[in-house]
């Protein structure tokens, strides 16, 4: 879905999407307000260094005393929030590291994108890599870090090699004040979690560790560490150039700016799209030509929630807009369940995947999550009795707040939202057994199948 997906994006962008107000900076925004992907829509090619500099200009260099704090204040005024899933205020994270008493600090760009339904980070790193690299260097300068790492998943697709070549080219042009090191930690669902990355970069396994301490307090080799998603850093690179007012010209007051969205299963034109926060969900789904008879939408990714199509399409795409249904943009995933498909079967497969991809460190992931996945599978494919259903509901609730990381919480949210959104199917499956779609339908939501051996975390 990753690259070919973006290929379809370019031609479909105009779909039902006509804005009357003029773009504030036409030169650096695409026709429909795209910022990160403006170069892609203009040229249809990944932005090389020359394109990048021609479009956006050089990033400011923070050398003077107080420059770093000024940039952090600018980010705070822009209201930038993290794009890795949690949506935390970026300036708060920057300040925590910048204000740490230890002067040795580390910055990590998280491009792991372990969420199988998401392709935005990889697409961004392919189409506009220099924005991410600019953002990483700016963030390092802002917090006073002399060490910068960029982590991408170990998938063998050569992205890490491409990025190293680009960094070498930037060094040749004297663009960056510090060296960026590219890493490929193991590609597991939980290994993109900030503490897991930090653990791996410190020489350990790519498994989450107990928080607190937060990574800003004790991160890579015990040093205060900023871990930011690559899309967050790309936005930061633009905010540093064009300022908070420019950034706020798009999006909502609460969630300013644009965001990358992956339209996955159920879309006729799946791909990565850049949208303004606050855009009606129906309009976002129309970009990928999601048919109007879809049953439900998985919002946020495999940590997200299933919501009925009719209810979600009336909302606006933003954390505050989706909160009405208890959903959140998460990692920017919208996956539709087409008419005729079985949401319980899809959820059962995803829960099985989440159970297999846990680090099996805490009680809920050792026992509760596998048991939940197994019961859910019986619900979808047959064999669950009434007692099993009660056990399933109890275990789903018990997964919350009981792990070192939020892996069990995310799985719990997904399972609970499925039991709610597909309530009628749950009753039907329990009464008359699995539906034909569950038994014979092909899997729609992608999962990586390979099991994890114990030595695979390094």
């Amino acid at each position: 879905m990753s690259t070919s997906a973006s290929g379809t994006t370019r031609h479909m962008r105009g779909y039902g999407h006509h804005r009357s107000h003029p773009a504030p900076h036409p030169a650096i925004e695409g026709r429909y307000g795209e910022r990160l992907l403006a170069g892609w829509f203009a040229t249809g090619r990944p932005a090389d260094l020359r394109n990048h500099l021609a479009r956006y200009g050089r990033a400011p260099v923070l050398t003077g005393s107080g420059d770093g704090h000024r940039l952090i204040d600018t980010v705070a005024r822009a209201g930038l929030t993290g794009r890795g899933g949690a949506g935390f205020a970026t300036a708060v994270k920057l300040r925590a590291v910048a204000g740490h008493r230890r002067s040795e600090r580390v910055v990590v760009a998280n491009g792991m994108e372990s969420e199988p339904a998401s392709a935005k980070d990889k697409t961004l790193l392919q189409l506009a890599p220099h924005l991410v690299l600019d953002g990483l260097v700016l963030a390092a300068e802002a917090v006073g870090a002399a060490e910068a790492h960029l982590c991408v998943a170990r998938t063998g697709d050569g992205l890490d090699h491409t990025l190293r070549t680009l960094i070498e080219e930037r060094r040749h042009h004297g663009l960056d004040s510090i060296d960026i090191r590219v890493h490929t930690p193991p590609h597991r669902y939980v290994s993109s979690e900030a503490s897991a990355l930090v653990n791996w970069l410190s020489g350990g396994e790519a498994k989450p560790t107990t928080t607190p301490p937060r990574t800003s307090e004790r991160g890579v080799r015990g040093l205060p560490t900023l871990v930011d998603n690559v899309e967050t850093l790309a936005h930061l690179a633009l905010i540093a150039r064009f300022g908070p007012d420019w950034f706020r010209a798009r999006g909502t007051a609460q969630t300013p700016g644009t965001g990358l969205v992956t339209l996955g299963s159920g879309a006729i034109h799946p791909g990565v799209y850049e949208i303004e926060f606050g855009t009606p969900v129906a309009e976002v789904l129309a970009l990928g030509a999601v048919p109007g008879d879809a049953q439900a939408v998985l919002v946020g990714g495999y940590f997200g929630s299933w919501v009925p199509f009719a209810e979600v399409s009336g909302l606006r795409y933003s954390p505050e807009g989706l909160a009405a249904l208890g959903a959140s943009p998460g990692a920017g995933v919208l996956a539709a369940l087409p008419a005729g498909a079985c949401g319980l079967a899809e959820t059962a497969r995803v829960l099985g995947y989440l159970a297999a991809h846990s680090a099996r460190q805490c009680g809920p992931c050792r026992f509760g999550l596998p048991a939940t996945a197994e019961d859910f599978s019986r619900l979808a494919f047959g064999g669950l009795d009434r007692a099993g259903r009660l056990r399933l509901e109890r275990n789903v609730a018990l997964l919350r707040g009981r792990g070192a990381c939020k892996h069990p919480d995310g799985a719990s949210r997904l399972a609970a939202s499925a039991l709610h959104a597909f309530g009628a199917e749950v009753r039907r499956h329990l009464a008359t057994g699995p539906c034909p779609a569950a038994l014979h339908g092909a899997a729609l939501l992608p999962t990586h199948a390979e099991p994890i051996a114990d030595g695979d975390w390094r």
């Binding site: 107990t210 805490c362 026992f367 018990l398």
Partner: protein, 99 residues
Amino acid sequence: MSRIHRVIVDRIACTGHGLCAELFPEHFALDEWGYPVQSAEPVRRDHLAHARRAVAACPALALRLEAVRSRMPADRSDRSDPPAAQPTNQPSTGYRTRP
């Protein structure tokens, strides 16, 4: 400003011995695999001795008692005399408590 106490569980260190639920049943129950299910409430002042005993007894050293400042002066946990009608910190039923 007053202080409230919380038991922090290191979920990775915990291996489900279950002593916490035995020594501090007002605060801890166990799931069907013997892992703690903790009350969301802070530790009541009159339960602090139980909390300390559970922390000291945990074979995995997975528990820690932490005093945090509360901005809410009227915190229920800090009243010397908790309202009788309030339920105790016992988590809702449905979990096995070890005999």
